[in-house]
């Protein structure tokens, strides 16, 4: 914020047209407040509908808050950390947490591999197949999570689905077993989220000067080698962004689990944190426990954000 010092001396000959410094428009009254004026609507909306609910979420997580308090039958009582203690002492919570982390990690990994390899593939083919792949991917991307989930469940339906017929699995039920159900959801998640990675990385690759890649190819580098030693380092900023974005999205997966495993699977075997919080709150009316889970999720994602910011800083990126 030391920039203002220099700008305070406007009479220094010609005005710089370019460069990192922002130009200050001719100052009318209130120019200091202009940015805040522009920001006001966003801040009002976010303050009221994001910050305040988060504050309330934290508050509820410290209270005794069940159906009785919602209907006003009983006064709310402060319970301190009791909800968190109950949560951390619950074996199911740890199981769900572990499942969430492993599932999200698997989704991110598969999404990145699928997205990056298809992006590289796109650069090596002519316009027509490229367009075909692009359109198919955009279709998958555009499909609403809820309809994508229903379609995938139908594809793998034990009675009427084509997949079991083709694979000769008979009436094997994918949603019955814990791991097969997770695998099915993973497939759907990767299907609908790899296009974002593909499109973004492809846009990044196209920005790499063609000579660099040609030189590498002429030197006899294999495709894998080109990717590892030339493209990946140059694409690092983009890869960081898509990785973090995928972590955030996959850690928060809700619709797919909720729809495909019917609210968390048999006896809650396919629960992830987000669905778990929702079920705790709305299915069993334990609003304070549900809020505590929400806070735990927020803290984990906050940690991810901090890592992200560090990475950005280290690259010398300006926010």
């Amino acid at each position: 914020m030391t920039l203002t010092v220099k700008e305070a001396r406007p009479g220094s000959g010609r005005t710089p047209l370019t460069g990192g410094r922002r130009l200050r428009p001719p100052s009318r009254h209130g120019s200091r407040w202009t940015p805040w004026l522009y920001l006001a609507p966003a801040l009002v909306v976010l303050g009221g509908l994001l910050v305040y609910p988060i504050y309330q979420l934290g508050l509820i997580s410290f209270l005794e808050y069940t159906q009785a308090q919602v209907s006003g039958g009983e006064p709310t009582t402060f319970k301190g950390l009791a909800n968190y203690a109950e949560l951390l002492g619950d074996g199911q919570f740890w199981q769900v947490l572990l499942a969430t982390v492993v599932f999200a990690a698997a989704c991110v990994l598969c999404t990145l591999v699928a997205g990056c390899s298809t992006a590289v593939l796109l650069t090596r083919i002519r316009a027509v197949p490229r367009l075909a792949l692009m359109l198919a991917a955009l279709g998958a991307w555009a499909t609403p999570a809820i309809t994508g989930s229903t379609v995938w469940v139908f594809l793998f339906d034990p009675d009427f689905g084509p997949v079991n017929r083709v694979l000769g699995l008979g009436d094997f039920s994918w949603t019955y077993g814990r791991y097969s159900a997770f695998a099915l959801v993973l497939l759907e998640v990767v299907w609908c989220s790899f296009p974002f990675v593909m499109v973004t990385v492809y846009a990044g690759i196209r920005a790499i000067p063609g000579e660099v890649l040609e030189a590498a190819a002429m030197d006899g580098a294999s495709q894998w080698r080109i990717w590892r030693s030339v493209m990946a380092p140059m694409l690092r900023p983009i890869l960081v962004v898509v990785t973090i974005q995928s972590v955030i999205w996959d850690f928060k997966v809700f619709t797919q689990i909720y729809v495909m495993t019917n609210g968390g699977g048999i006896a809650g075997q396919n629960l992830v944190l987000n669905v778990y919080a929702y079920q705790k709150a709305f299915a069993s009316s334990q609003y304070s426990l549900g809020s505590a889970i929400g806070i735990v999720m927020l803290l984990i994602l906050l940690a991810v954000t901090l890592v992200y910011l560090r990475l950005l800083r280290r690259q010398g990126e300006e926010l």
Binding site: M1, T15, L17, T18, R22, L23, P25, R28, T34, P35, L39, P41, A42, V45, L46, L49, L50, Y52, I54, L121, R124, I125, R126, P129, A132, L133, A136, A137, L138, G139, A140, A142, T143, P144, T150, V151, W152, L155, D157, F160, P162, R165, T200, G204, A217, M218, P237, I238, K252, F254, T255, Y258, N274, Y278, S291, I293, G294, M297, L301, L319
Partner: protein, 296 residues
């Protein structure tokens, strides 16, 4: 792909080297495209299949007797048209309002230096991480209280769907729009002021049209997240079913004893098509937009 060392490349005119593996790569790409598109194809196909073929244990990837029965069941559902319009209305309002608000905010953080700017940027980033579903609980109570104070936007109204989605789509929209706003040369801004344009005039008559493509790309994300939502619709629209949205019309076909797959697929098709159309329309801008937003 081909790990075979390229035998003496002969790039005479073509700017790209001819690689031996290209045909294989193209065949692979086409196969992949078919596989990726298959679920969508199966969805549309199943929507048109007559009931007997859907319930067949030997499903075939074509139908000789396309029928509109499933669509009829969807459209004749009570209030279906209304659900559709509700969804469209909610998504439309969120897209337009969030685009305008995000445009102003993105202008503020890219065109001005002021205290707390960096803090604000970090907050916009952190806001994207918030697990929306976890906030259903406090938002439910908030909407209930708001409804008591201002009838018309509380629980059971479309306002209770619009407001939260507005908040959740803003941070990403602002974050993505930065790149587009920054791409407009500063010289242009100065020229406008030298010509005596007011700040408002520059904002709406010069900057806004230039950033518009970016706004379109950004709006895809707001549109999708709003259009997809079924959690808020399920949680906030409790008794006033006339204010429900499309996903509710889809969930009707899930029955405990036997799912009506024809109906589900037809409803899914109806729900997917608007998004697909929107996507194809803005496809080009999306690709360049993402590149720009991510790179700088």
């Amino acid at each position: 792909m081909s790990t075979v060392p390229t035998p003496a490349p002969t790039p005479v005119r073509t700017p790209r080297i001819r690689r031996p593996g290209r045909m294989a790569a193209e065949a692979g790409a086409l196969l992949l495209a078919a596989a990726v598109a298959f679920p969508l194809y199966w969805m549309v196909l199943s929507a048109f299949k007559p009931a007997g073929e859907i319930q067949s244990t030997e499903p075939v990837p074509w139908t000789l007797h396309p029928s509109l029965d499933a669509f009829r069941r969807v459209f004749q559902q009570q209030d279906f048209g209304r659900y559709f319009l509700n969804s469209l209305f909610v998504a439309g309002v969120v897209v337009i309002v969030s685009a305008l608000i995000a445009f102003l905010a993105a202008t503020a953080v890219t065109r001005f230096r002021f205290r707390f700017r960096t803090t604000l940027m970090i907050m916009f980033l952190v806001a994207q991480m918030v697990p929306v579903e976890a906030l259903t609980i406090p938002l439910f109570f908030l909407m209930r209280d708001v409804g008591d104070a201002v009838p018309g936007i509380g629980l059971n109204t479309l306002g209770s769907l619009i407001l939260p989605h507005l908040a959740f789509s803003l941070p990403f929209a602002i974050w993505m729009l930065r790149g587009f706003v920054r791409a407009v040369p500063e010289a242009l801004e100065e020229a406008a002021y030298l010509d005596g344009a007011s700040r408002a005039r520059f904002l709406w008559q010069i900057l806004f049209p230039l950033v518009f493509p970016g706004l379109v790309a950004t709006s895809v994300f707001s549109f999708i997240s709003t259009w997809n939502d079924f959690l808020f619709a399920k949680s906030f629209i409790i008794s006033a079913t006339e204010n429900s949205t499309l996903p509710m019309a889809l969930l009707v076909f899930f029955k405990p004893d036997e799912n009506d797959w024809g109906g589900i697929m037809a409803a899914s098709t109806v729900m997917t098509i608007p998004v697909l159309v929107f996507f194809v329309l803005v496809q080009r801008r999306l690709v360049s937009g993402l590149g720009g937003a991510v790179k700088d």
